[in-house]
Amino acid sequence: MITQFKKGIVELCVLKVVSVQDLYGFEVIEKLSEPLSVNENTIYPILRRLTNQGLFTTYEKSSSSGAKRKYYEITESGKQSLKEKLEEWYQFSKNIKLILGGNKNE
């Protein structure tokens, strides 16, 4: 898959999973690494960048074992960005379906 294209999709997924619930870094990695075939060196830079852009904020919380974890929380502009990206994605996938689906009536 084209790298930049894949990165865009991973970013969309990161926005989505964090929008559902606040997650710590490793949880995001666990949720996405297998289905998207990516590792922490793909996901972590995206988490950092989205935080730098103000789409996420972070806070610390201790786990049951006492270890501190950094949680990512989506901001209002993060929600707005997710909404725009989802619309783009739905439009894009609809167009791809039209091209690849072979259904002339669509």
């Binding site: 930049q4 970013e11 590792n39 972590y44 830079p45 995206i46 960048r49 270890a67």
Partner: protein, 331 residues
């Protein structure tokens, strides 16, 4: 585990990432490490999974905000070794004051102390490498060679060192630059040895082959199509014709070889992209012309080599100390 994180920290420090960001990255990676450990992975498996410091740095490249320091302070510290050499050589050569003049080399540690960068030792060490090369050059002159020939030592060691010093310069750029330097030296030596000019000219085949093979993108030899290709090829042909015409007209091949540098400069101008270091890219050629002209016409070889200091000087002055967040992953 500690070793792994120490290596990561050192690597990021080398890349001049600021302290807060390093701490943040280390803490985040430690968190991943602990989680993998809980999941039953061994130390070795985790370090393989997380990747080498270089891999981590590469993946994070678009997310760094470099520490913002006043640009002039950085530049003064970086410029000081070169200014020191210029003062030292001028005082030594014109006033024969080599002995007390050496104290100007204290300028480098002094400026580093005055504008404490927090990486004092590193900056002083870097500067001393250049000063070392220049002092070695002076020793070569005083012990073995006339000024007229000693500069060959200087050109061989200093230019590749400058390119090697710049982390962003790729190996192929260094090799290409070195091939050009070798060709110039070879040509001059052959002309001085009274070898016929057409044969001496073959020296320039070396950089030409290297540049074509390397696809010298850094200074813009990546010629692919259209008008740029025509301009560059035409400039090579015109320079060759001009060189032969001037050479025959003035019966002088030992000076007019510099015309052959023009197409390389034109290629840089044509291929230069916005934000590239244009003057720095052109400076090795301009410095060579200044150096050789002063030496050739005025016999000022003893001081004209200082022209080569224009290369690091312009690189420092043209350099941008602050790097904004680059959204490279977003394109």
């Amino acid at each position: 585990m500690n070793n792994y994180f120490n290596n990561l920290k050192e690597y990021l420090e080398e890349k001049e990432i600021n302290k807060n960001q390093i701490e943040e990255i280390i803490n985040d990676y430690k968190e991943f490490y602990e989680e993998y450990l809980k999941n039953g992975l061994t130390d070795e498996e985790i370090t393989i999974k997380l990747g080498s410091p270089k891999e981590i740095y590469q993946s994070l490249k678009g997310t760094f905000v470099k520490e913002q320091r006043p640009a002039f302070q950085n530049k003064i510290v970086s410029l000081s070794p070169f200014i020191a050499v210029i003062i030292y050589v001028l005082l030594g050569y014109f006033l024969d004051a080599w002995h007390p003049a050496w104290v100007v080399f204290l300028l480098t540690p002094l400026t580093a102390v005055l504008f404490n960068q927090g990486r004092l030792l590193k900056r002083v060490t870097e500067s001393l490498i250049f000063v070392g090369i220049m002092l070695a050059f002076l020793v070569v002159h005083f012990k073995w060679l006339e000024w007229k020939y000693a500069w060959l030592f200087f050109i061989v060691f200093l230019i590749p060192s400058i390119f090697a010093y710049n982390n962003q310069t790729k190996l192929k750029a260094i090799i290409s630059e070195a091939s050009l330097v070798i060709a110039i030296i070879l040509y001059i030596v052959l002309v001085f040895l009274k070898v016929s000019v057409p044969i001496a000219l073959l020296s320039f085949l070396l950089p030409l082959i290297v540049l074509i093979y390397a696809g010298y993108i850094e200074v813009g030899f990546d010629i692919k199509k259209g008008i740029k290709r025509i301009i560059v090829l035409t400039s090579f042909l015109i320079s060759l014709v001009l060189f032969i015409v001037f050479g025959l007209m003035f019966s002088n091949w030992a000076y007019f070889w510099q015309i052959l540098l023009l197409p390389f400069m034109i290629t840089i101008l044509v291929e230069n992209k916005p934000n590239n270091y244009l003057i720095t890219a052109l400076m090795p050629f301009l410095a060579t012309i200044i150096f050789y002209s002063l030496g050739y016409f005025y016999g000022a070889w003893a001081v004209s080599w200082l022209a080569y200091l224009l290369i690091p000087l312009t690189a420092i002055l043209e350099g941008k100390p602050v790097v904004e967040i680059k959204e490279t992953d977003n394109n």
